[in-house]
Symmetry: D2
Subunit: 140 residues, 4 copies
Amino acid sequence: MDVIKEFFKRDRFSNLVGIELLEVKQGYACAKLKIEPHHLNGFRVVQGGVLFTLADVVCAAASNSEGELAVSISASIHYIKSGREGTTLFAEGKRTCANTKLSSYDIVISNDNDEKLASFQGLVYHKKTTLEEVIRLHPD
Amino acid sequence: MDVIKEFFKRDRFSNLVGIELLEVKQGYACAKLKIEPHHLNGFRVVQGGVLFTLADVVCAAASNSEGELAVSISASIHYIKSGREGTTLFAEGKRTCANTKLSSYDIVISNDNDEKLASFQGLVYHKKTTLEEVIRLHPD
Amino acid sequence: MDVIKEFFKRDRFSNLVGIELLEVKQGYACAKLKIEPHHLNGFRVVQGGVLFTLADVVCAAASNSEGELAVSISASIHYIKSGREGTTLFAEGKRTCANTKLSSYDIVISNDNDEKLASFQGLVYHKKTTLEEVIRLHPD
Amino acid sequence: MDVIKEFFKRDRFSNLVGIELLEVKQGYACAKLKIEPHHLNGFRVVQGGVLFTLADVVCAAASNSEGELAVSISASIHYIKSGREGTTLFAEGKRTCANTKLSSYDIVISNDNDEKLASFQGLVYHKKTTLEEVIRLHPD
């Protein structure tokens, strides 16, 4: 899984947001994010794009977990409870269905009080390239 | 759970399609459908609307499982493998997130060879009415 | 467009539901459905699977409109108003985005009072097969 | 529309990402984003969360355009083409369906070459609070 972790260190937007990838296993990943003031929207709760990005990083890690490039083609999210400043959010998810080209992932976002905030479903397309080739072609 | 089962007997479209509700527990349901020629599309695989309706019935049963009316407001589906004539499909799912008004459900459709065909995510709105009242107001 | 119309005559589930394809142009389609008692759910409004199937047929027609096989891989729907018995529903939609393999469609369902009932978004994968080949390989 | 623009100046995550709201009218909005290195993922294309957040800001602006608080409850996105560093992306969208509590929006993301990159569909819940009250209750 080392290539995955190296790969996600290269994800600049995920770094800007502050997402920390905690674990990656075959078809599974989890990540966390401590909520800071810059994650809030005009209502002073966590902006929807923050929740989406947190889940999307988990979907990307789980779908690339075999070391072959997978790209997201569709995703949906349901927002059930608001995220608050000062809490830490966790996203965890796994592959539910797959064929040779497509796979689908269910991801749930929780807070540090174990309340479920949002549910995310992602669909990815598996390319015939390894992550190592991508890193070699696009060095930093 | 008897009111739920009575309620789903009243679902005429689900009956037209031939869906059989197998089990309903709090926040959980499963159903099955034997694939007949009238479930196929022009490519001779199960029409997407059949898969969607099968998952939707499970979502409706799970979300109405406490006997209070819940109505679907949003749903998404990922199609991974085709369903075939002569097989039996199963949909099973549960609540993943809830607040006092909204709840979200993850449902997976499998065939009788235990292959996962599709993944569905549903969002419902909980109304302040019981299923018994709905049945009383709209008798057959 | 004749091959498309022939193709949709072969869609047995769409025929069971009673959907009538009205028009197909490049990347565009519309269809209608007269609501009968067998389209209703246990609340006596149009079942979600009926609305989904109506929009899905439009998505399939629009995405197959060039005569090359396109298969649905993801779809989502938002339900805004209920459909009622005795009304006629219309679904109309068009391609919004495309690359050589994937394309996306926005479809809106209205009733005969021109009220918008639901919004659907579909994603399809374009295969390297023509509809004529599919019909030849799977004759009735 | 001045209260909307003030409201979006308060959206700290949108500011962090660098999104500029260009126009808001009743049920309509558009926004732009110049793609910088910090918007990229490990494949050196625009991260999915960036595209989602850009569309989500347009959905939020369009749905709050009457000055009454609307909160996002569900969203889905289809990714068709990649966004590239150095380009400027635009998101534009409008309300397609509404009842007194819920409304749905279709949003398309394009680049400065007028290529369509992604299609987004958002569902919001309308609360009985004005944006002015929200700003008054949560001053900066």
